[in-house]
Amino acid sequence: MKLPSFDTAVRSLVLTVLGATGLAGCELWPYNNGQYPYTTTDPISDFGMYTHELYAQITWIVLVIFAAVTALLAFTLLRFRDDGQPGNPEQIHGNTQMEIGWTLLPIVIVLFLIVPTVRTIFVIADAPPAGAIDPASGLVMRDDAGEPVKKTVEIKVIGKRWWWAFEYVNEGIVTGNQFAIPDDRPVSLLITSDTVIHSFWVPRIGGKRDAVPGRMNRIWFNLQQDVQPGEVEHIRGECAEYCGDAHALMRFEVIALDGADFDRWVTEYQAGPKLAGDVKTKGEAAFAAGGCIGCHAITGNDQANGLQGPNLTFFGDRRWLAAGVHDMYPNGRSDATHAHDLLTQWVRHPDSLKPGTTKHDEESRALDGMNIPVDRSNDGILQEDEMSTEQLDAIVAYLLAQTSSYPIQ
């Protein structure tokens, strides 16, 4: 038999090796949190780790199969090239033993995939415990009255067009596009939507769950990373289900806090921001006169209790504008000018920062029969005669001044 030509051999082998290593790199690439804030391969919760373990296991099995099949194919192509000799090869029609063999082989491999898969499905589908587990006894830690010492934090996640609302079920706190979680007790998220279907995805916490109107999905987890007191761990999340114009611009941030810090965060958010002086009086007046109160709520401002838009309590805590899209403090917290300008632009002409915003505004207002004095009739721009610079400045200052003791760096 004539040997395959050198170039064919090299070409096939190079392709094989490249393909195999490429696929390997896919999962084993160190997509760490530092460079890849949305990475799926650097989980920080137990929920994410269950998935990741299975993910890695299946990836390895698949890689081995791929390498074997490719090697077999490459060898066959090299070994059985047409040698130019007359005559046809032996006409083999098949072999039943071999067929049975290579039917059973994938069945066995599939069993190795299915068993751990089903186990993991049921592990992550378990209901959350009532509170943090005592590692010594394996039971929920309870006080003398039988109440959990560190009660599971329940948060209702609601997908909107195109932002997220987070409602703390027991604490009575509502936030928009950013929420805090403790590192010392279970967190249970109840995911739904009151608009179209979205998908709530924080890759580092774990897999996504769809936010389906009329349904409630749950994921729950314990953070596996210990956050130091006074520090904040930022975890980025995003919408994963196509939901219209600004689907790509529907992100959010989870801020993980030390347990004691989280308790203080809750107390502060329940009380609302403590503002005084001109910022408060002028700001509240402008916020009401501008019609903002029709859609936005702010704890401590009795006039502002709208439910259509994001809750703006402690807006100054937020780093990102327009649902995790625009960094308000790219030069650090000390540079407040950028935040001021960006927020001004956002109120004046939101579509320039996030397409589709006013379109949906108009839609929901028309459909819900609301009559709000904000008028962006001129190409979606809030003109000077509709809101004066002075008034807008007061609103922006009022919002940015609302910081808690956990401002975002």
Partner: protein, 628 residues
């Protein structure tokens, strides 16, 4: 109506000059011509869908790019998928069904030649109708999966989604007609001696696909109708505030959508199963197992739809069940791959252009198949669903698989269809560019998915680490574009400008009946129907001393002309009225409420069009379509 055409070309003599007038093409009922119409329509829409893909890739070249607007981007990915699935891969498969099935089973045409013409014209109208929304209300922007409730009138006012719904309904109608036609053809028109297990594998895979089509398209049609009712008449099938359930749409859609995946891939598998044995100069290894695994894939394919819905929260029992059935599909798929390799094993492989495309299919499809096994596991899928990992997976299956397999078919069957080889050098250049391009574009998407990049996103942020691989993918997309254009240019030059080397009847030394007649085949295909005694009748005649099947041997004493069905205007007329009937739903649609005023305009127009349909039906029945 038919009188003008009836006296043309139905007496097909051996020396008969092909009538190439426009009328002859508009009234044709010849399966080979309809196959060519499908093929060129499909190639055109491939180019269009590819253009849309290039715009998508250009937009994603940089982070936070503003090359096209979010609205345009959403329209582009919706139309790219819709075009590639319904207007490119399916009709290119249909081109091969039409051209090959009668030739492979030794028939002179399909069972219902006029119905076949109607299928094509309906397809063309549906395809144009979908794209015409560009001129009226903007292209559809709801995704090819059109998830309710976003596609309802509240969130998608205007008519673009109506265009999408009605376009798909027309296309589904066309596919179902073709499906029944081919099932009847395959079951009834086989030449003497052609038992089911002597049928070529491509015909077998086509048969499975036709059953998938006729069983899955009704489900999406129901889903689409309910959506149309929600949008036009204010019903509440999918509208949650009034008790509807958006997941109902997902179930109906994926009950169709998953078999659809096999509708796209099985024809390519059939073609590859024809080409690999010819390339290796051996029979297909374990042909019955390849056939049964194809049937198995089609069968189990109906029981896996919910793996598209693992993230919707169906509960652990459903997740476990659908995960298991999905993984089981890997078994017949693996059987096929092993049999293809075993076919090559021990052969004398000739690396012709179609053979190389077919082998590439096996390699690339394996990658797509294996990544598919990964997200068959629901916990893993929770991280991969709706991320670029999925985009990578199904592009390996559909571009690396279906598209590459169909390309191998184009190069393999072109000489039979047009009597001339496609240019070999162009074929090699095209292959190299496509192979580099497909891997360069789609492999990095695995990485992007692992980095958490969601699908269908107009922009990605700076600092997410997505920059480099997106740029690589964008560069790769141009390799695919140029690679495809090389083949397209070579095909156009060949078919319309007479370029290319003349091909003999049997250019590849193949085994099945279609190669035993002239290239291109005469209007009547077989002057005398052959009697076959094995699954490789022509090979056996040439190499094993088997009974003769080729026309030059068996048809020497055959009569000088063969009677063929005459051309007809009725299919085109019927398609026009039917297309118009569907289109008229636009008048009342899109508001989410029943609008009596608009409905009173829509109703008489539709009644008129329905009368037109009845008129065409009546003419169709009355027409003397017996072979003359």
């Amino acid at each position: 109506m038919s009188t003008a055409a009836t006296n043309v070309a139905h007496h097909a003599d051996v020396e008969h000059e092909e009538d190439n007038s426009l009328t002859s093409w508009l009234t044709t009922v010849d399966h080979k011509r309809i196959g060519k119409l499908y093929m060129f329509s499909a190639l055109f829409f491939f180019a269009l869908g590819g253009l849309e893909a290039l715009l998508i890739r250009l937009q994603l070249m940089w982070p936070e790019n503003h090359f096209i607007s979010a609205q345009t981007y959403n329209e582009m990915f919706t139309m790219h998928a819709t075009t590639m699935i319904f207007l490119s891969i399916m009709p290119l498969s249909a081109a091969f069904f039409n051209f090959l099935i009668p030739l492979q089973i030794g028939a002179r045409d399909v069972a219902f030649p006029r119905l076949n013409a109607l299928s094509y014209w309906l397809f063309l109208f549906g395809a144009l109708f979908l794209n015409f929304s560009f001129f009226f209300s903007g292209l559809p922007d709801g995704g090819w999966f059109g998830y309710a409730n976003m596609t309802l009138a509240k969130y998608s006012p205007g008519h673009s989604i109506d265009f999408w719904i009605l376009g798909l309904a027309i296309l589904g109608n066309s596919s179902m007609m073709a499906g029944f036609n081919f099932i009847t053809t395959i079951l009834n028109l086989r030449t003497p001696g052609m038992t089911m297990f002597r049928m070529p594998i491509f015909t077998w895979m086509s048969l499975v696909v036709q059953f998938l089509i006729v069983m899955s398209f009704p489900m999406i049609t129901v889903g689409l109708l309910l959506m149309l009712f929600d949008r036009s008449f204010g019903t509440n099938f999918y509208f949650p505030p009034n008790g509807g359930d958006p997941l109902l749409w997902q179930h109906l859609f994926w009950l169709f959508g998953h078999p659809e995946v096999y509708i796209l891939i099985l024809p390519a598998m059939g073609i590859v199963s024809e080409i690999l044995p010819v390339a290796a100069r051996k029979p297909l290894f374990g042909a019955p197992f390849v056939i049964f695994s194809g049937i198995m894939i089609g069968f189990v394919g109906f029981g896996v739809w919910s793996h598209h819905m693992f993230t919707t929260g169906l509960g652990p029992v459903a997740d476990a069940a659908f995960s298991t059935t999905t993984m089981l599909i890997a078994v017949p798929t693996a059987v096929k791959i092993f049999n293809w390799i075993a076919t090559l094993w021990g052969g004398k492989i000739r690396f012709t252009v179609p053979a190389v495309f077919a082998i590439t299919f096996v390699f690339l499809f394996t990658i797509g198949g294996l990544s598919g096994v990964m997200h068959a596991s629901p916990p893993v899928d929770l991280q991969q669903q709706d991320s670029y990992f999925i985009v990578a997976h199904f592009h390996y299956v559909l571009v690396g698989g279906a598209f590459t397999g169909l390309m191998s078919g184009v190069y393999f069957y072109w000489p039979k269809m047009f009597g001339r080889y496609l240019d070999e050098r162009a074929g090699w250049i095209s292959w190299v560019l496509l192979f580099i391009g497909i891997n360069l574009t789609f492999f990095p998407m695995h990485f992007l998915g692992a980095m958490g990049m969601p699908r269908r996103t107009w922009q990605y942020p700076v600092g997410a680490g997505y920059d480099m691989w997106n740029m690589v993918a964008t560069v790769g997309s141009w390799f695919i574009a140029v690679g495809f254009l090389v083949t397209l240019a070579s095909a156009v030059a060949n078919a319309f400008f007479g370029k290319g080397k003349k091909a003999p009847a049997d250019p590849w030394d193949a085994a099945t009946l279609e190669w035993s007649i002239a290239s291109p085949p005469p209007h009547y295909n077989f002057k005398k129907l052959p009697t076959v005694a094995s699954d490789r009748p022509y090979w056996d005649e040439k190499h094993e001393g088997g009974p003769a099947v080729s026309q030059e041997v068996i048809a020497v004493d055959a009569p000088s002309h063969v009677e063929m069905p005459p051309p007809s205007w009725w299919p085109l007329g019927q398609a026009l009225f039917q297309g118009g009937f569907f289109a008229a739903f636009l008048i009342g649609g899109g508001t989410g409420q029943f609008d009596a005023d608009r409905f009173m305009i829509q109703l008489p127009i539709q009644l008129l069009l329905a009368a037109g349909m009845l008129y065409c039906m009546f003419g169709w029945i009355r027409e003397d379509a017996r072979p003359r």
